[in-house]
Symmetry: C4
Subunit: 92 residues, 4 copies
Amino acid sequence: MEGGPLLGHTHWVTSVAFSPDGRRIVSGSCDTTVRIWDTQVQAMVGVPLLGHTSRVTSVAFSPDGKRVVSGSWDKTVRIWDIAGVLRRHGQW
Amino acid sequence: MEGGPLLGHTHWVTSVAFSPDGRRIVSGSCDTTVRIWDTQVQAMVGVPLLGHTSRVTSVAFSPDGKRVVSGSWDKTVRIWDIAGVLRRHGQW
Amino acid sequence: MEGGPLLGHTHWVTSVAFSPDGRRIVSGSCDTTVRIWDTQVQAMVGVPLLGHTSRVTSVAFSPDGKRVVSGSWDKTVRIWDIAGVLRRHGQW
Amino acid sequence: MEGGPLLGHTHWVTSVAFSPDGRRIVSGSCDTTVRIWDTQVQAMVGVPLLGHTSRVTSVAFSPDGKRVVSGSWDKTVRIWDIAGVLRRHGQW
């Protein structure tokens, strides 16, 4: 019915969303990280996106799928260049 | 004004979304399940999607409507092959 | 900068969304109701959508804008025929 | 990997979303404000949108990107004319 669970977050996952092309998923967690997942290989892409210092409450992909935005209990909003993350990992 | 409530979840419903074609709804619940509903017959499609071991906080359909993603307090993200679920129930 | 607040809910508003054509807004609340708002006249359309027996946690419009789905702490999902609501009020 | 955090909110950020053209982000916060951010210059656009008297729980852009809706624990829904905000700041 589905692959196994996508493992990595170390605390509650609070928000998930698909990329516009359906190939990626973004997740935000109370572990303060934002993570990108590949839906084909069912694994995390690159490394956890570090920066927030408290739980991530809300995540969303940009309409072109190249960026992600996250909001956090640390009072900040962060914009992540996913294309850059993927390029560095040879996955874009 | 509307049909009766869609019954099945055994704890709070936390997140709902329509499929891109408007024919299905996905819901996530504190009962740890993800469920797919048919908007025409106003009933659950297939069986509850089991796997998460704590409350589901966020659900979303893929842009092609064939998959659903869910995030949970069990620290995992899960991708569900809805097309497969529906095929097995002769509803795709 | 904006009109005044849209008044009606008697407890916290938990979730809001625009209709696909941008003319309506749906809101869900801890007052157990779902409400539809007209963005032009900045007022509620029809009557509060009653049925849920506990707080509404998540609301969304269907892609064709004719229906709304809501999830609630009452363990149910409800599909609302907004076109029908509006017709009865001569607003569709 | 990304610019620095977008600073301004004075309490938890609860909800974030991209505008349909990907140029703006809206955020809602427990500081009662709604804020618009420019993704190019990575800075707030205009001034904080004031009006809510309790935490903002949910925000969304209209399909045309000209308006934002917000829901709050103050029991109200508010529609914000973002085009107007941007015009006054010479950013539309």
